[in-house]
């Protein structure tokens, strides 16, 4: 049997989450792993996918229909190529979550979402109730759609040279068109792949005060995130949100600044290696998961922390 990974890319490069997903696809042990790269002028992305180790073939579909990865034509394409693959594997990102269930329903097969561990080709561990419980689930059929939690699998290594084969576009269902996008521009590391993440919460009190978080983040080369409360209050854009319904992160260091630690937030960061919390409320639940808790007013502690990082000569790695 063969496994198909549906890649995410910007037509130039494969996105980091796809590298984690390839590792999961290989770990299935179900057979060869092939990658679908569909986009417009996506040869460069296909070439970068070909360099991922452990991959046997790249299937490239270069067509304007897939320029913005709209779910309707994209899912139709995956279905047209689904043939003999035993597993169709996507990242549990907004792209994967948008496309995967559509593919599963069109093929009338089961989808297993957000897998964290592979027990066998048909048995997986996945979080339920915001990660407060872990379910081991087994599929009764031999063809499956899977979405993968990126933080639970290492990134695949580079160094391969898989052949790139062009495949045909599928029909356009003609249901949807792309209007535009407003992407957050940032020089900082992307949240889900950052080695360090510094997040601000309701305690920041305003978007203007986020510079306190950003200053510290830039001194240690961190990505910047936020709690739902901070996003809902309009302090920062939606794509900053870490939590059950936002992004799941598991960096080496996670710093929660002015975040109380609702279970929905903890769901998005509690697998981080080291957790720091700065909060003036000693009783805040975030301290129960923090390795290093500092009880104090963030408006005093954050400037002091920035100065201390300089004093001890800390630089981004």
């Amino acid at each position: 049997m063969t496994v198909l990974v549906v890649a995410e890319h910007d037509n130039q490069e494969i996105k980091g989450a796809t590298l984690n997903t390839v590792t999961a696809a290989i770990a299935l042990g179900a057979g060869d792993v092939e990658i679908l790269v569909a986009g417009e002028n996506c040869q460069a992305a296909a070439d970068s996918a070909a360099a991922i180790s452990g991959v046997s073939k790249i299937r490239m579909v270069d067509n304007a229909l897939y320029a913005n990865a709209l779910a309707e034509p994209f899912a139709a394409l995956v279905v047209s190529l689904a043939g003999d693959y035993s597993h169709i594997v996507l990242s549990h990102t907004t792209h994967g979550k948008n496309v995967a269930p559509r593919v599963a329903a069109l093929l009338d097969i089961v989808q297993v979402s957000d897998i964290m561990e592979i027990k066998s080709p048909d048995t997986f561990v996945r979080p339920i109730y915001a990660g407060n419980a872990l379910a081991t689930v087994q599929a009764s059929e031999d063809k499956l759609v899977i979405t993968v939690r990126g933080t639970a699998f290492d990134k695949a290594e580079l160094g391969g040279s898989a052949p790139v084969e062009a495949a045909d576009a599928s029909n356009d269902p003609g249901l949807s068109s792309f209007v535009g996008q407003e992407l957050t521009r940032s020089e900082r590391p992307e949240l889900t792949s950052a080695r360090i993440v510094v997040s601000g919460g309701r305690g920041m009190q305003s978007g203007d005060n986020f510079h306190l978080v950003e200053t510290v983040a830039d001194k240690i080369g961190a990505g910047v995130g936020a709690s739902r409360a901070a996003v809902d209050a309009g302090y920062v854009p939606n794509d900053y949100q870490v939590g059950q319904t936002g992004k799941i992160v598991a960096p080496e260091l996670y710093m929660a600044i002015g975040i109380s630690g609702a279970i929905q937030h903890l769901a998005g960061m509690k697998d981080s290696k080291v957790i720091v919390a700065i909060n003036k409320d000693e009783e805040a639940p975030i301290f129960a998961v923090a390795d290093y808790g500092l009880v104090g007013d963030l408006f005093e502690e954050m400037p002091a922390l920035a100065a201390e990082l300089d004093k001890q000569g800390i630089k981004p790695r």
Partner: protein, 249 residues
């Protein structure tokens, strides 16, 4: 325009979920149940379209055990016109829910279906997309804004990199994200009025759908506990510990 909104009965989002001693699931006995928070947003959006005159009727549907009628009543108290209960004691998985909702859509012919982007119990994030696929409709997932004009819907979606806007031909399925709206609380008079609203009941057999689960839960475990609770006195100690003890900066 007719809108169908799905509402799921789940453990209240404030409840700390506990795994059962025999590892067969989570404790549901004597636990507070509520409407899935994303579905509250779905009902609110539909009722706003009703109040704006864009929609003519809002139907709330829930699928599952007898007590799902409580969840439907909550939706009716928020402003939905009538309810549909697909009643079964069998565990319902996303593909089965999508098939049951497809059968209901074929009876009711809605122009739009609104569902939450995920349920906070199984966190699958599948049902809306599956229904759209089965109906051959467009989907506007993780929506933070929905505008209807000239037989099209313009949906702004919350994606990993920021926001994306798509134009979709009706009918459509919309799945709600947190920023779409802030759901209202039902007023007491509306709660009283909701008791008189009609709820139609179907079984999966009535709808001609095989809803048998296709994914088996072998066991449910507590996640490994995290050892936290460490404290530092000041930022100097914090930086020192991060540098020399944890080695992460």
């Amino acid at each position: 325009m007719k809108i169908l909104v799905a509402v799921k009965r789940v453990i209240d989002y404030n409840v700390k979920v506990r795994v059962k001693g025999d590892n067969t699931g989570v404790e549901l006995a004597n636990v507070k149940m509520s409407m899935n928070p994303f579905d509250e947003i779905a009902i609110e959006e539909a009722v706003r379209l009703l109040e704006a005159g864009t929609a003519s009727e809002v139907i709330a549907i829930s699928l599952g055990e007898a007590k799902c009628t409580e969840t439907i009543r909550t939706a009716l108290a928020m402003g939905a016109d009538r309810g549909i209960h697909v009643k079964t004691d069998e565990e319902l998985q996303p593909l089965a829910v999508a098939k049951l909702m497809k059968a209901v859509c074929e009876k009711e012919n809605p122009d739009m279906v609104i569902v939450g982007k995920q349920a906070i119990d199984d966190d699958c994030s599948q049902t809306g997309q599956m229904l759209a696929a089965l109906m051959g409709w467009a989907q506007g997932t993780f929506a933070s804004k929905v505008e209807i004009a000239d037989g099209k819907a313009q949906v702004t979606r919350e994606v990993d990199g920021g926001l994306e806007t798509v134009s979709l031909s009706m009918p459509i399925v919309v799945t709600t994200d947190l920023r779409l709206n802030e759901p209202r609380y039902a007023s007491l008079p509306n709660i009283m009025k909701a008791k008189k609203k009609q709820i139609d009941e179907y079984s999966p057999e009535d709808l001609g759908v095989d809803a048998t689960p296709r994914l088996k839960t072998l066991r449910v475990d507590e996640p490994p506990p995290r050892q936290g609770g460490g404290k530092v006195a000041d930022v100097a100690e914090l930086v020192d510990k991060l540098k020399n003890e944890a080695g992460v900066i």
